[in-house]
């Protein structure tokens, strides 16, 4: 899976912030603890926060929790 790797500072800038009407950023960590966002959020960050579009990187999610 591909996603956009962001810095901790960028994560802090957008976390819990509105990305569009009725939508919010939700950065998540990969298996290594690095922060990522996905397509719609990057589009919003580029458009509304003036970010340069990051290069897509491999995103490996943390070990999935068992389905109970």
């Amino acid at each position: 899976m591909k996603a956009y790797k962001i810095t901790v500072e960028q994560k802090n800038e957008i976390e819990d912030q509105k990305s569009a009407p009725a939508q919010y950023f939700n950065p998540v960590q990969d298996i290594n603890g690095d922060w990522f966002i996905f397509e719609a959020e990057m589009n919003s960050a580029v458009k509304n926060k003036g970010w340069a579009r990051a290069i897509l990187a491999d995103f490996v999610p943390p070990e999935p929790e068992p389905i109970i």
Partner: protein, 311 residues
């Protein structure tokens, strides 16, 4: 189109003038205040009598229909909607017919919220048709929105509407319904739970199985071949019943209560948040446990009417 279609004028209560041209003039007369004037002329074409009456045309739509369509910026006109073959007015009529169906079958008062996921944006999918000012949905992460519904990415997406089962429902009369419009993965879930004795969640396709819990974790999974369909979990007293496409697929005794947690759409809130959903989703309703089949039939009318569900 709301308003009146026809006006007739009578003299002494017997003679009408259903003049087609006159009727045509008034076709589409909209709700609001109007003035009707009748004038009588003699053979010399001199006005001999004139009667004026003010009247009011009430909307034929339910208040909730008008509120929802207004909130979603959908005009009541003959222009094409984003739904194939449906004008905007067709969409008004469809929503209104479903709300009237719920009301006629005593289910509307049992519905706590209904998100029809109508239109092609998060802002429109956020609205609750029961009360557009309550339980508005906030979408977190990178969702994709379209006329066909909304789809998470399976990783960081969920929706929150401020619904807490222990606050907004009661365990002896609780239920919720979801429409799944695709069968793309095996991890769909919604609701919340402490993964102890207080749970309120559903997994329409967990490893190929359906699972719903309102209370403890005892209900077993139910095997199924596709997750496309309309699902309801409904609890009355100590019995949990689950339905798919108006057919009961599980009935089992349960204990436990409702979690004091935020209900998630497309994920599970609380302990062990579960896997985010990446399946295309339509209507979401939280309701009481009284009328699950009525709820499902109303959702079928809506989703099939929009052309996005065939079951």
């Amino acid at each position: 189109m709301a308003g009146i279609r026809k006006i007739t004028i009578s003299i002494d209560g017997s003679e009408e003038f259903p003049n087609s041209a006159l009727q045509e003039i008034y076709t589409g007369l909209l709700e609001g205040s109007h003035t009707l004037t009748a004038k009588a002329y003699n053979a010399s074409n001199t006005l001999v009598s004139e009667v004026t009456r003010n009247f009011t045309v009430s909307s034929l739509y339910e208040t909730e229909t008008t509120d929802f369509m207004t909130a979603t910026s959908t005009p009541d006109d003959a222009n094409s909607s984003i739904y194939a073959g449906l004008t905007n007015t067709n969409c008004w009529d469809l929503l209104d017919s479903v709300i009237k169906y719920f009301k006629a079958n005593n289910a509307w008062s049992e519905i706590i919220h209904w998100h029809p996921m109508f239109g092609g944006s998060a802002a429109k999918h956020a609205y609750n048709a029961k009360d557009v000012n309550a339980f508005q949905m906030s979408f977190f992460g990178s969702w994709v929105f379209s006329a066909s519904g909304n789809q998470g990415n399976g990783t960081n997406t969920y929706g929150s509407l401020g619904f807490n089962p222990s606050v907004n429902s009661v365990v002896t009369n609780a239920g919720f319904s979801i429409v799944y419009l695709s069968n793309t993965d095996s991890a769909g879930t919604l609701g919340c739970g402490d993964i102890g004795s207080n749970n309120y969640y559903m997994q329409p396709n967990s490893g190929g199985n359906f699972r719903a819990r309102i209370g403890d974790l005892s209900p077993a999974a139910v095997s199924q071949t596709t997750s496309i369909g309309i699902y309801t979990a409904s609890r009355n007293s100590a019995i949990l019943k689950s339905y798919k496409n108006k057919i009961e697929i599980q009935s089992t005794s349960v204990s436990g209560g409702l979690p004091n947690l935020d209900f998630y759409y497309g994920a599970r809130g609380g302990t062990s948040t579960g896997t985010y959903d990446d399946r295309l989703q339509g209507s979401l309703i939280n309701h009481t446990g009284i009328n699950p089949v009525i709820i499902q039939e109303g959702l079928r009318m809506w989703e099939e009417g929009l052309g996005r569900l065939t079951i």
